[in-house]
């Protein structure tokens, strides 16, 4: 299966290589046919299409490869590195493909045409990285099985679980920046894991244990090891911002939201079944969630075409997934509260 996936990626890249040659040949015709507005629109559409394909594909591929590393007995750090490398490689492939398919559009936008005025919006690309501090809030788990009262057999919750960043956030964006506002599409990845700690949780209901019957649950604590949960997320969404008065630098404030592809992995089946399965990936859930964030940052132009930026972003990522096995199967949900600082390099296309 893995080999088939790799062949697919190579085949796709070869296809984009031909596309690049073809697009270069037809550059003159394309220039004549495209207006600047059309070029900008096509640039966005193509970027979105490529990101929607490559980013989730490489993310899931990376998660699978990382999981295979764990199954193969490799260290968790190595598994994380495999995931990060694959995800970033996928984003790079998306960028290469985007460059090939949008060459004529970017060439057209580079020039100063008759439609371009001083008030025109500028199109840009950003490559960014960042560090963050995060914690899991309101971890809620409930049995997938219903009791006689129609409610889950048991429910449990922990108010807070400490986490640590596993890999710096990496992302790329394409956006437009106007005189007073801006908007951008962002694709980025983050990775966090839970620390070794004692989690005190609240629980009600009962668990059916073979041989023991119904065991009631109550207030309790659980010692979880380091990387009990390994959380990886791919964010694909949009940010909008307004420019603040320029003071040497260009500050801005904004909001962002988007869809998450979340991967939660563990060597343990779930909180309710804390028996490590060495050399296996007992929990490997991939689900869809969503994210909300605020933005506060500033840009500094370093040339006519380039700028650097720094950004502070408080964010909340929402996760839901199923964990556990057999009679201990459970639905889990939690919120990852993140305070992130991102920095990056931007390139104006027009």
């Amino acid at each position: 299966m893995l080999h088939i996936k790799m062949i697919l990626v190579v085949a796709l890249m070869a296809n984009f290589g031909f596309a690049q040659a073809d697009s270069t040949r037809n550059l003159a015709q394309a220039k004549a046919a495209l207006s600047r507005r059309t070029a900008a629109r096509n640039l966005f559409i193509n970027t979105v299409i490529l990101d929607v394909y490559f980013a989730p594909y490489s993310f899931i591929f990376g998660v699978a490869l990382g999981g295979q590393s764990i199954v193969g007995g490799k260290s968790l750090n190595r598994a994380n590195a495999v995931w990060a490398t694959t995800s970033i490689a996928g984003m790079a492939l998306s960028l290469l493909a985007s460059n090939a398919l949008t060459l004529e559009m970017r060439e057209m936008l580079k020039g100063v045409g008759p439609e371009m005025g001083a008030n025109d919006t500028r199109i840009y690309r950003i490559f960014s990285g960042g560090l963050s501090t995060a914690s899991i809030l309101d971890f809620q788990a409930e049995s997938v099985f219903l009791g006689e009262n129609g409610k889950p057999q048991w429910e449990a919750g922990a108010a807070e679980v400490k986490t640590t960043i596993s890999f710096p956030a990496v992302g790329r964006r394409i956006g437009v920046s106007g005189h007073r506002w801006g908007g951008e599409l962002e694709t980025s990845i983050i990775a966090h894991h839970t620390n070794k700690q004692t989690v005190y949780y609240d629980a009600t209901g009962f668990i059916r244990v073979p041989g023991l019957g119904e065991v009631p649950l109550a207030l309790n604590d659980i010692e979880i090891p380091d990387r009990f949960l390994m959380i990886h997320s791919l964010f694909m969404g949009a940010n909008v911002f307004v420019w603040l008065p320029k003071v040497k630098v260009e500050p801005y404030v904004g909001l962002g939201t988007g869809v998450l592809i979340n991967s939660v992995q563990s060597q343990y089946p779930g909180p309710a079944n804390l028996i490590q399965e060495d050399g296996s990936l007992a929990l490997d859930a991939t689900t869809v969630g969503f994210a909300l964030r605020g933005l506060l940052g500033f840009r500094v132009d370093i040339s006519d075409r380039k700028f650097v930026f720094a950004e502070f972003r408080p964010a909340r990522y929402y996760y839901t997934y199923e964990s556990g096995t057999r009679n201990l199967a459970e639905n889990d949900r939690f919120t990852l509260q993140i305070f992130e600082v991102q920095m990056g390099l931007g390139f104006y296309i027009n």
Binding site: A118, N119, T133, S135, G157, A158, A159, E160, H179, T198, Y200, D202, A203, T204, L217, A218, L219, D221, L244, P245, K246, V247, P251, V253, G294, L296, F312, P314, R316, Q337, F339
Partner: protein, 426 residues
């Protein structure tokens, strides 16, 4: 032409250090007169010695023709005020232009000016353009020597509002003749009269505050009373003191009657040594047993809890435009990144004398504030301000360790007196 240069040079010399002899003579002859007459325009020159000049209509580029026509008139008036020029009447100029216009195809503006100047028998022609680039007004005026056809001087004034057209024209004329610019008055008036003033402010201020409605409850609900927190409590007030003066940065803009800004702020408090009157009731779990507890007083040491609120928000205010002071009042709100630290795990751990992991929590919060202040404009687009700011910062976080984990909520009520310094940008 030589006469022109001599006249302009002598006028400019009134303000230039290089003309020391002339200034020294002025000082000896009439010190008091010089003080009383700082404006050189007040001096008269015989009409017969004035230079014949014509002012062509200022060309509008992206602005209304009426605005350009008005600037033309202002330019003529300002040139006349210099007492250097005798300006040709508009009717005479228009008649010549109407008569000659068909002959001037293919000529540059300067060449056309020279042709007109020769017909009008003037020494100097002033040509100008008033335009806009990205909402920034630009006035460019050139002085063409009719005899040689050269542009002998040019001056540009940029980034002024329609209301400041008179000042812009005045500055252009001053630049053309090397006169000292009356900068201070223009800057102040520009700041006051501008349609939109954008600014950046830095502030700092001391405050008084306390934690009110300190609401605590266990995060656990599976105690003896199912569905309810196993214990909960409320303290009406916890005394606190600022750890350092609050600081902030505000970026914003104002119009005539109102303004708004975005603010980044930091405020830090810590609790003082005190006995807190709590109303706590419920159960605690120790050694797998439940014990009913009632607590009415909790003694905490100094700096038991330290709070840092980093705010990102905005303010909106209305103000009274005035040249002396500008009083204003408004309201603001912020998103807070709250950091709460303590050497103890939390109030419940302290009450039960149980050790735990020291509190170190980062959480989201919010703040609302009222603003009442006075801005005082300073020269060179600066201002200072004093502001009284009652505010409420909302904190919500998880503290404690073990089965004493609790959810804490309180409001940091502060009364802040701020001193700030601002710069105005166009």
């Amino acid at each position: 032409m030589e006469n022109l240069h001599r006249t302009i040079s002598s006028r400019s010399g009134l303000h230039e250090a290089g003309k020391a002899a002339w200034r020294y003579a002025r000082f000896i002859v009439g010190f008091a007169l010089c003080i009383c007459l700082p404006n050189i325009y007040a001096q008269e020159i015989p009409v017969t010695e004035r230079i014949a000049a014509a002012v062509l209509d200022v060309m509008p580029q992206g602005v209304a023709a009426g605005e350009a026509a008005l600037v033309t008139e202002l330019l003529k008036d300002e040139l006349l005020q210099t007492n250097i020029y005798a300006i040709v009447e508009k009717q005479q100029l228009d008649a010549v232009i109407a008569e000659q216009s068909f002959q001037h195809f293919g000529l540059t503006e300067a060449e056309r000016a020279v042709e007109l100047g020769k017909i009008l028998n003037v020494n100097i022609i002033f040509i100008g353009t008033l335009g806009k680039i990205q909402n920034v007004r630009i006035l460019a005026v050139r002085m063409v020597d009719v005899e040689t056809g050269e542009i002998v001087k040019s001056a540009i004034e940029r980034d002024f509002s329609a209301r400041d057209a008179y000042l812009a024209v005045r500055r252009v004329v001053q630049k053309l003749h090397g006169f000292a610019l009356d900068e201070a008055s223009i800057v102040i008036q520009t700041a006051e009269r501008s349609d939109v003033g954008r600014y950046v402010m830095l502030y700092s201020g001391w405050s008084l505050g306390s934690l009110i409605n300190y609401d605590v409850e266990s995060v656990f609900k599976s105690g003896p009373v199912a569905g309810e927190p196993i214990w909960s409590g409320l303290a009406a007030e916890v005394k606190a003191k600022p750890r350092f003066p609050g600081v902030g940065l505000r970026l914003g803009a104002w119009k005539k009657w109102f303004g708004g800004d975005v603010e980044i702020s930091a405020l830090s408090y810590s609790s003082t040594a005190q006995s807190i009157h709590y109303d706590i009731a419920g159960y605690v779990r120790l050694n797998n047993e439940w014990y009913e507890v009632f607590l009415d007083t909790l003694v905490i040491p100094d700096n038991f809890q330290q709070m840092l609120a980093l705010g990102f928000g905005g303010n909106f205010y209305i103000h009274i435009p005035s040249k002396i002071v500008q009083p204003y009042m408004g309201i603001g709100a912020s998103l807070l990144m709250n950091r709460v630290t303590s050497d103890s795990a939390g109030p419940a751990n302290v009450a039960l004398k149980l050790q735990g992991v020291p509190l170190n929590s980062t959480s989201l919060g919010g703040a609302v504030q009222f603003l009442i202040g006075i801005k005082y404009p300073l020269p060179n687009q600066r201002f200072v301000y004093v502001e009284f700011r009652p505010a409420r910062h909302l904190f919500s976080f998880v503290s404690g360790d073990g089965f004493q984990k609790e959810r804490d909520r309180f409001t940091l009520q502060s009364f802040q007196l701020i001193l700030g310094y601002g710069l105005i940008f166009k």
